[in-house]
């Protein structure tokens, strides 16, 4: 099988039996945004805006380099953005503008308790 054929036929997440690396006992406290991202995934599935299987497919279709380098929830949120464009629910420019808007909001000084 050629290398490119292998890339096409084997999904980046299909890894059963493919490693002999030691298991590193690892866990981390989820960052608040990771938990929000997980909750977002569940809500998207509840409403069938993006179902869980579409999320899996969307992560795979990021390709092996992104699957290998992004963290778990980074893969999820990028995949949600792609799927929302595909479904014509969002436009790429919508997200770019909104990210700028959210970033600008954080750059503002925190409101005082009275405001």
């Amino acid at each position: 099988m050629t290398d490119t054929e292998q890339l096409t036929k084997r999904l980046p997440n299909d890894i059963g039996g493919t490693s002999s690396d030691p298991i590193v006992w690892s866990d981390h406290e989820m960052a608040p945004w990771e938990k929000r991202c997980h909750a977002l995934a569940d809500v998207l599935d509840f409403h069938k805006i993006i179902n869980t299987e579409e999320k899996r497919r969307g992560v795979e279709s990021l390709g092996s380099e992104m699957v290998g380098k992004l963290t778990y929830y980074e893969r999820w949120i990028v995949c949600f953005a792609n799927l929302l464009y595909q479904k014509q629910i969002l436009h790429p420019s919508d997200l770019a503008r909104k990210m700028d808007e959210v970033a600008a909001r954080f750059a503002e000084p925190a409101p005082s308790a009275e405001s």
């Binding site: 036929k9 999904l11 179902n51 299987e53 579409e54 479904k87």
Partner: protein, 115 residues
Amino acid sequence: MTGQVLAPLDLRGDVVLATGEAPGFEPGDTVRVMTRSPIGHYRVPRYLRGKTGDVVAVIRPMAVDNEEEGYGRNAGSKGHYYRVAFPMAEVWPGYVGGATDQLLIEVFQTWLERA
């Protein structure tokens, strides 16, 4: 009851089941996983292709094929998943372990043929 075939009913013979409603396999049937290589999305790991195992349960309820679900189907066209047991030695040549060690997995009906 999850994973079990329905008990014989008094009315069996009088009640006509809809197309596809009766499972094609029953516990004890020997099945082979097909060897095709779909492009895009699949939920049958590559390590399983072409392997032979025994059906241990019919999963209830019937469900959407997750390879269709991955492209946005949320309802309709449901089919049967089967819990299938494979001897580890059948799946992994050179497997180190007990002779009766097993691998169990759910496989959608479109991937199975009678062996």
